[in-house]
């Protein structure tokens, strides 16, 4: 376990220590990429957004407030970039079907058999499509909660909204996902 906290590393970045940014990248690039990949269907978009997130962290390190959590700040930046990208794709993108054209790269789940692995991948694909069917604000909550393991209070900080709103979105998001999965013949 590392003795230096993320917040201490950001403070070091603020004072010009670029090695600390390297440490933050090493710590957070995988969770960040995982999160962004679930928010945007295209893997090339996910890469761009991860890169831009770290560049913004570097560029805006002086705006990080003491007492805040680094991960909350990072997720906020990434989420805004995801929203920007989705907005841009809606308005300007000439892509017919993002999800089918360039799906996020996934590794096969470690299963006991190839059949089990295939089933698992099919389920993952169904959930991914299901998540795209529910409203974006519900999808954000589901992903931050279930995949990133944030507490409702932390999600509320990331989204800058009341905790009760987060829970409400979670409830309707789970119900929406259930219906979307049902339409695909799952449960």
């Amino acid at each position: 376990m590392s003795s230096v906290t993320d917040e201490e590393l950001v403070a070091a970045v603020q004072s010009g220590d670029m090695q600390s940014l390297g440490q933050l990248v090493v710590r957070w690039e995988r969770p960040l990429y995982r999160f962004v990949s679930r928010m945007v269907p295209r893997s090339d978009d996910a890469r761009d957004i991860c890169q831009e997130t770290f560049l913004r962290i570097l560029k805006r390190a002086d705006r990080f407030r003491a007492g805040s959590r680094f991960s909350t700040w990072m997720y906020q930046i990434a989420l805004n970039l995801c929203r920007d990208r989705a907005r841009w794709r809606r308005r300007w993108g000439k892509i017919v079907d993002d999800a089918k054209e360039a799906p996020t790269e996934t590794t096969a789940s470690a299963g006991p058999s190839p059949e089990a692995g295939t089933q698992s991948n099919e389920l993952a694909q169904a959930v991914r499509l299901g998540l795209q069917e529910i409203p974006a604000e519900q999808r954000e909550v589901l992903i931050l909660k279930e995949y990133e393991g944030l507490k409702f209070k932390e999600i509320a900080e990331v989204l800058s909204c009341p905790e009760s709103t987060v829970k409400s979105r979670m409830y309707y998001g789970l119900n929406g996902l259930k219906n979307a999965l049902a339409r695909q013949g799952i449960r």
């Binding site: 560049l55 560029k59 698992s120 409702f152 999965l181």
Partner: protein
């Protein structure tokens, strides 16, 4: 309390983020309300599917920014210009670059933001004033576009803007994008010019070094006599 008013409490219960008191109340309610118990079971089942589908996302590409002489914040290192520069510079292995690749496995990533290559005095070469001006214009346009685009989603809330306003904003965005594209092209052209000049300079230096080595070799070889 009406059952339908419990929506927020259900998820807190489901994720074990409620107080002990709330937990007892909910558990007691679930014992006597078939409808709520069924609803809770459905939520739990959906959550299980969601969790079980967490197939591992492929390893992310890595960020590497090669270090330069002294670090500083990249306030003048605009993203698009930087990307174009990095792509070109990586190709010839020069100076600072930002690139992504997927190593397997990678133990550590070095990330340092270096000097802006354009702003650095390289052996007497001063920054190209045209480039600096264009880069500033680019950043201004980028900021303007960001302001416009950030305004748009807010305006789409409960009270959508009038159609005329919407058309005007879209037209504005289109104009700014066109200007950005022009700046990007010019950005890239200037950067390539700079790289070619640096490459030529490097070749000349190599040629001079080889010539010097030849002279040294000749003067230290006993079989070579001065005429």
């Amino acid at each position: 309390m009406e059952c339908k008013q419990w929506n927020e409490t259900w998820v807190a219960y489901l994720y074990d983020e409620c107080s002990a008191e709330e937990r007892d109340i909910i558990a007691a309610h679930l014992d006597r309300c078939d409808g709520c118990r069924e609803r809770m079971n459905e939520l739990a089942a959906t959550r299980e599917v969601l969790a079980s589908s967490a197939s591992e996302i492929a390893a992310p590409p890595r960020v590497i920014v090669l270090p330069a002489a002294s670090p500083r914040t990249p306030s003048t290192w605009s993203f698009a210009g930087g990307f174009a520069a990095a792509a070109a510079m990586f190709a010839i292995g020069l100076f600072v670059g930002v690139t992504w690749f997927t190593p397997e496995p990678v133990e550590q990533t070095i990330l340092e933001m270096g000097e802006d290559p354009i702003a650095v005095d390289r052996g007497g070469t001063q920054p190209d004033p045209n480039y600096l001006q264009i880069r500033n214009e680019y950043e201004q346009l980028d900021n303007r576009l960001g302001r416009i685009e950030n305004w748009l989603p807010e305006s789409q809330g409960d009270s959508p803007p009038a159609l005329a306003t919407w058309d005007r904003v879209q037209s504005e965005v289109g104009t700014v994008r066109q200007q950005l594209d022009l700046r990007r092209s010019e950005d890239l052209r200037l950067m390539l010019e700079w790289i070619l000049a640096a490459d030529q300079e490097s070749r000349l230096r190599d040629a001079r070094t080889l010539q010097t080595l030849g002279i040294v070799h000749a003067t230290t070889n006993p079989n070579v006599r001065e005429r």
